[in-house]
């Protein structure tokens, strides 16, 4: 009887909550709706508009491998090879083993006339199979596997003998995975690169507008960043040619925060 008396009071609340959720979902388009709208524009061949839609989602703080991947496709179809490579590389950071991302990135790099800045070595490819976060999680698991047997050995000293192989194995794994994590971090953060995002970019002998042009980089060319002065980057291309280029003409990896201080 008590339960029966409460039911009429709760039911309208639940119904109201469900209605509110449905209404709010319908009234404010979520990221999925915006994503699907941009996909629709892509399917209609309105690639520039689709790219703008994906970019709006990114600007709103939404990030996913699929979003970057589709943005790369929209930019590629719009003829913006460099920005497409930037988007594919962002997608690769989030989903390093996604074959679609790898295929399209390779396709775009092949299309870029300048080629790839550094042909990745085998160890480089192996390290980038996992993302930095995945290496971090793996290292954390190894850390737990190493420390928990140690703690158990303190708790039950008699079990020390049986726990020692686990601890030793975990220690070796921790060192190996830690080294991979460090190398992965170095690849991600320690060797900055840049992608040319304009049809043609003049690389100058010095970091001033008046400096003579040393050579020209084409859209999509990837170069290593070896120096920086104010808003100029010193870059090194695959032919070991170096020069200075305005940072607004390229996109750096890792990307710098919008308000990063220059110097």
């Amino acid at each position: 009887m008590k339960r029966g008396r409460e039911a009429p009071g709760i039911a309208p609340l639940i119904a109201a909550a469900v209605l509110w959720v449905q209404w709010s979902a319908a009234a404010v388009p979520g990221p999925t709706a915006d994503f699907e709208a941009a996909n629709k524009l892509f399917e209609q061949g309105r690639f520039a508009e689709a790219a703008a839609g994906y970019e709006r989602l990114l600007a709103s703080g939404q990030h996913s491998a699929a979003l970057h991947f589709n943005l790369g496709n929209a930019r590629f179809r719009s003829g913006r090879l460099g920005p497409a490579i930037v988007a594919y590389r962002e997608a690769e950071l989030l989903a390093p083993r996604d074959p679609d991302v790898r295929a399209n990135l390779q396709f775009a790099r092949n299309r870029a006339a300048g080629g790839v800045a550094d042909a990745p070595a085998l160890w480089h490819r192996a390290l980038t199979t996992l993302s930095v976060d995945e290496w971090t999680a793996l290292a954390a698991v190894c850390l737990w596997l190493f420390l928990l047997p140690l703690a158990a050995a303190q708790w039950r000293p008699r079990a020390q003998g049986s726990l020692r192989p686990f601890a030793c194995g975990a220690a070796v794994a921790l060192v190996a995975v830690g080294a991979c994590l460090a190398a992965s971090l170095h690849i991600r953060l320690g060797s900055p690169t840049a992608v040319v995002t304009r049809p043609e970019v003049n690389v100058r002998y010095g970091p001033v507008e008046e400096s003579k042009t040393s050579f020209t980089l084409r859209d999509g060319t990837e170069v290593r960043v070896i120096g920086r002065k104010e808003d100029w980057l010193q870059v090194l291309d695959a032919s070991r040619r170096s020069g200075w280029v305005k940072d607004s003409l390229v996109t750096e990896f890792p990307q710098r925060p919008a308000g990063a201080k220059r110097g």
Partner: protein, 588 residues
């Protein structure tokens, strides 16, 4: 009268003749006043020297600058015009003077012939003007003076070289004072000459300070034998030391250097590589390509970078056009010279090639042959093949598009060359910008096993220390027994059980004193007060309290005891006694 008339008639012809003479004289003077004057400032000049021809037009300007006739052996150029205005007894008159430079190019006696000049009043002819050009080596007084004011030297960097070898030369112009210096004119049959670069400085010479202009350039012999190089001739306006009314006088002058003989050797036949194509100099090159892991039809960019000293623009790039199994595109070649004379620099070649089958294992080796004049030998630089991995196109995705008409005329299916299509689902939200490693919750989580291990480690160390110290272990055990015993005391006091209460007090006293004095608890009696506690330095007040407690226990055991209220009052007293006893040290 008739006589007078006759005399008059006789005088008439004489008067008329005088009038005619006067009229003729006036006409001659007027004609002279408007006649053109033409003349040379010198009638004898040295070879290469310049005289000045002036044409003066008093008050009667020419319609245009007259074109002087061409005279073999002389070079005549217009030098400018000037106007003079004079005022005599209130009468103003003006004249215009045109100046021409006459340079002796060939020795001998030359004549500038008469030539007509068109004036407003009609045509007038100039007189013919003879001029003598002395043979080479003979100098006039003026040219001897000019030689001291400006002279030229031709300095080659070598006098023997190989055919096609590029080498620098220097034309040095020394002059005391002057202006309007022209680039040197170098006689160089059998050589090609590069661009000239000038550099000015001042040098002391023979007690005077000369301006020195070094014109540097590169020459390349194009035929063999002993070839004359030079003379080099510079043209400038020399400032003469004589000073006229308007300041220093400038004189055009074209000093010449001596010619030098260059012995051009032919390239040796011995040791000439089969692929040698005429490059002479010192060169090196790098050979790179990327990407090297591709699918059939993928573009590979081959980069060849030639560096060195020599005529880089004439150095042939290693040809990739004959590579079988590759589809090649026209190369992009760019030459960047790093020095002003363009003798050193870099030649870059970029060529896109596409592997056509999966059997390709490498990009072929390349070689560059050239003649090194420093080593006087041919050299061939080889660069090894570049390994490549060529895979079949994934599902034909990377195959080149080949459209072949079918039998029925329809084009048939074309191989797909495209990117993978977009993804329909947004997927899990993630951020590549913030790393897991930098998140506080993650770091806190990793501290858990570490904390557990450290905590257990400390606990284990403590346990082991306790196990290895029996006295400490007994001390802790007694503390635990005392804590429990005091609870029992309170319970016995509350239950009004004096016998149990005092029995517990006695037991606790034994435990505490036994632990302090390191004796078995059963060995503790009242006698230890005097035997052990007093020698241990326990003060009298404490001893008195302990004694009273022992006696109280004895009384209770043998005579029954107190009520519950008085027992409850005893509990704090017992506690204080145990506090005092904990401070007792065994001083044996």
């Amino acid at each position: 009268m008739p006589k007078a008339d006759d005399q008059l008639r006789k005088r008439e012809p004489a008067r008329w003749s005088r009038e005619w003479v006067a009229l003729a004289l006036i006409a001659f003077l007027v004609g002279r006043a408007f006649a053109i004057t033409a003349g040379l400032d010198r009638n004898t000049i040295a070879l290469g020297e310049t005289a000045t021809l002036t044409l003066t037009f008093p008050g009667n300007a020419p319609r245009s600058v007259p074109k002087l006739p061409e005279v073999p052996g002389l070079a005549i150029t217009f030098a400018g015009q000037s106007r003079q205005i004079s005022m005599v007894n209130g009468v103003t008159s003006s004249s215009i003077t045109l100046s021409f430079h006459v340079q002796g190019r060939q020795p001998g006696d030359h004549v500038i012939p008469s030539f007509p000049i068109e004036l407003e009043s009609g045509k007038q002819n100039t007189p013919a003007m003879p001029i003598k050009v002395l043979p080479r080596g003979e100098r006039t007084a003026v040219s001897s003076e000019m030689d001291k004011l400006a002279f030229v030297r031709l300095v080659p960097s070598r006098k023997e070289c190989y055919l096609g070898e590029i080498f620098p030369i220097e034309v040095q112009l020394y002059y005391a004072a002057g202006r309007d210096i022209q680039l040197p004119n170098l006689r160089c049959e059998g050589f090609t000459v590069g661009k000239m670069v000038g550099e000015q400085s001042a040098v002391p010479m023979n007690g005077a300070l000369y301006n020195l202009v070094r014109f540097r350039t590169l020459v390349t012999p194009v035929k063999t034998g002993k070839l004359p190089l030079g003379p080099a001739e510079c043209q400038l306006m020399v400032q003469l030391r004589a000073q006229d009314f308007f300041g220093f006088r400038l004189q055009q002058y074209s000093p010449q250097s001596e010619a030098v003989e260059i012995n051009v050797l032919p390239l040796p036949e011995a040791g000439r590589p089969a692929d040698f194509s005429g490059a002479v100099g010192q060169f090196d090159f790098t050979y790179a390509a990327g990407p090297t892991n591709v699918q059939v039809g993928d573009p590979i960019t081959v980069r060849i970078r030639i560096t060195g000293r020599g005529a880089l623009d004439q150095v042939p790039v290693p040809s990739l056009g004959e590579w079988r199994d590759f589809k090649t595109y026209p190369p992009a070649v760019k030459v960047d010279m790093s020095d002003p004379l363009s003798v050193m620099g870099v030649k870059n070649l970029e060529q896109v090639v596409m592997p056509q089958n999966t059997g390709i294992r490498e990009l072929p080796p390349v070689a560059l042959s050239f003649f090194d004049p420093e080593q006087k030998a041919y050299r061939t630089i080889n660069r090894a093949a570049i390994p490549v991995t060529v895979k079949a196109g994934a599902g034909g995705a990377q195959q080149p598009t080949v459209v072949l008409p079918g039998k029925s005329g329809d084009p048939g299916p074309a191989a797909a060359v495209d990117i993978v299509h977009i993804k329909p689902h947004l997927g899990a939200a993630a951020s590549a910008q913030s790393l897991l490693l930098t998140k506080p919750w993650f770091l806190a989580l990793q501290s858990l096993p570490l904390s557990a291990w450290l905590g257990l480690l400390v606990w284990r160390r403590r346990e082991e220390r306790l196990a290895n110290n029996p006295r400490l272990r007994r001390q802790r055990e007694v503390a635990r027994v005392l804590a429990a015993g005091l609870d029992e005391l309170r319970a016995h006091a509350g239950a009004n059980k004096p016998a149990e209460f005092h029995a517990t007090v006695f037991r606790l006293l034994q435990e505490q004193l036994g632990e302090r004095l390191d004796l078995p608890a059963s060995a503790i009696t009242q006698s230890v007060i005097e035997e052990r506690l007093r020698p241990a330095g326990v003060d009298d007040a404490t001893l008195a309290v302990v004694r009273e407690l022992f006696e109280s226990c004895d009384r209770a055991r043998f005579s029954g005891g107190q009520d519950g209220a008085s027992l409850a009052v005893l509990v704090p007293k017992v506690e204080s006694v145990f506090d005092l006893l904990r401070k007792v040290e065994d001083r044996r």
